[in-house]
Amino acid sequence: MSEMVKKMDRRAWGLKPSGLYAGLLLLLCLAAWPALMGPYVLHVAILVCLNILIVNGLSIIERAGQLSFGHSAFVAFGAYGSVLMSMHFGLSPMAGGVLALILAAIIALVLGGVILRLKGVYFVLVTFAFAELTRLALMDWADLTGGANGIAAIPAFELFGYAFDTRPRFYGLVLVAVAFSIILTYRIFRNPLGEAFRAVAENGALAESTGLSVYRLQLLAFIIGCMLAALGGVLMARYIGFVSPESFNLNVSVGLVTMLVIGGRGSLWGPAVGAIVLTTLPEVFRGALQTQHIFYGIALILILRFLPGGLAGVPGLLRGRQKVS
């Protein structure tokens, strides 16, 4: 890596590689706490991790300038895809999962290939409709997917004969996946590719005029982001042991976008912060299940108005430093 790229990278993130490792270490320390707190806290921590993984995917798409309101569909492709392929072709969870990721990438390629050609808000609208369509298809295609009943008794994830069938074991697995997704995001955005994503998001016409294909770059970001969502789905199905179309409804997609916005768009730690806050809060406010969505709505509006960088942007603001998104 040249000096220039490194220099650009530091300005882009305000983060040296040491910052990444410090952050990962902090996250790991945070992650150690639930492991000592018993099954319930551990369960919530696993859900947090799955959400970080999925929202990291959404973040990559967003940082290339597109907002997907159908991210849950790709979680569904990962979940259903891996389980069905394992069931029907007798594949190991690992092989089924890999195939599901490839399936999600192909669907993202085809869907993105069509709608990224359109300018304007079509992407948001079509991804939104696509997620609903996916859910309805899972519902109606009962022969294959089990319809509204879903698929139950999914065996645990297994790797080289080692089963991740207890919570602590699975927690370890999902932590590795989260670390992978954070390092992947970090690496993308410290490379020319990430800078091209930023350029495209900030001023598409200008980026295009310098030889960057907005279409291809956004398509690539969409495929990477959707594969991370699918990875989240693969692991989620194996952990919960049950999938049904309702786990992938539009509320889930909207919830993922909310996590991204509240956590912080355009920042490496934003998705993690958003996923932690918005996964744990409902657990804390279980008594106010009906009214909590009102608070999320208000929080979303307040953040968009006063904290465009999200919660992850707060330390930067406190230090009085302008952050480039």
Partner: protein, 261 residues
């Protein structure tokens, strides 16, 4: 058609419903020339530009650049082929430094990057170690070295436009399309712009095609001028020829009977 033609446009037409914004436009630009595209407001100059650069798809016609048919190619592919453009309004990434603006301009040329694979084959690749050198070269070309670390959005208007040209140069074009480079510039900035464009031609061998309203600049710089009125070419020639052309005078000043009224 001559083989020496650098850019040749033939029968270029853009139809918006029943309205032809550009009608059967044909002209060519030779290597190293500076050609001006002028005309009253709404004459279709910018549309013609967008058609050549690929930002707008043409209804009919053909654009050939350096022997390659680039008609209706995506703008990024036109740029990669060596034909870059600037924009009418300032077009920079406002929140980042001048240097990083140029870095972004260079992205399609950075070797060993995924971006390059998305862009496709092109010439003038820059190895990673050479990026800084290339940025220095660009800063020198537009004489902006001392602005290197300044945030682009906080630059004076004239400098932002200059940076816009530098960003276009970063893609290492052999020809530049400039959309009203002098618009909004003061007298002094216009003088600097003229000098800059001239040096791009003489020192760097670039071919330029510019849409411009500022007649003094057009008359001073251009080797040839093409006059568009209502989407059609009504005249073409050296600045002296165009200045004397009755059709051009009528288009700009109105028909003689009104002019004398």
């Amino acid at each position: 058609m001559m083989a020496a033609e650098f850019l040749s446009v033939s029968n270029l037409t853009k139809q918006y419903g029943g309205l032809a914004a550009v009608k059967n436009l044909g002209f060519s630009v030779g290597k190293g020339e500076i050609v001006g595209l002028i005309g009253p407001n709404g004459a279709g100059k910018t549309t013609a530009f967008n058609l050549i650069g690929g930002a707008v798809r043409c209804t009919a016609g053909k654009v050939v650049f350096q022997g390659t048919d680039i008609t209706n190619r995506a703008p990024s592919r036109v740029t990669v082929a060596g034909l870059a453009r600037t924009f009418q309004s300032t077009s920079t990434y406002g929140d980042i430094s001048v240097e990083r603006n140029l870095y972004r301009g260079l992205l399609s040329r950075i070797q060993s990057s995924v971006v390059r694979r998305l862009v496709g084959r092109r010439e003038g690749m820059v190895p990673n170690e050479q990026i800084q050198v290339e940025i220095d070269r660009l800063l020198d070309m537009v004489d902006m070295r001392r602005w290197r670390d300044v945030e682009a959005g906080s630059l004076a208007y004239g400098l932002q436009k200059r940076l816009g040209i530098a960003i276009a140069l970063a893609s290492r074009p052999s020809m530049l399309l400039l959309d009203e480079p002098a618009a909004g510039l003061n007298h002094e900035e216009c003088r600097e712009l003229t000098a800059l464009l001239r040096s791009l031609q003489t020192d760097h061998g670039l071919t330029l095609l510019l849409v411009e309203h500022h007649m003094a600049i057009v008359m001073e710089l251009c080797d040839r001028i093409i006059v568009l009125v209502q989407g059609e070419k009504i005249a073409e020639g050296t600045p002296a020829e165009v200045r004397e052309n009755p059709a051009v005078i009528e288009a700009y000043l109105g028909a003689p009977e009104y002019a004398h009224a």
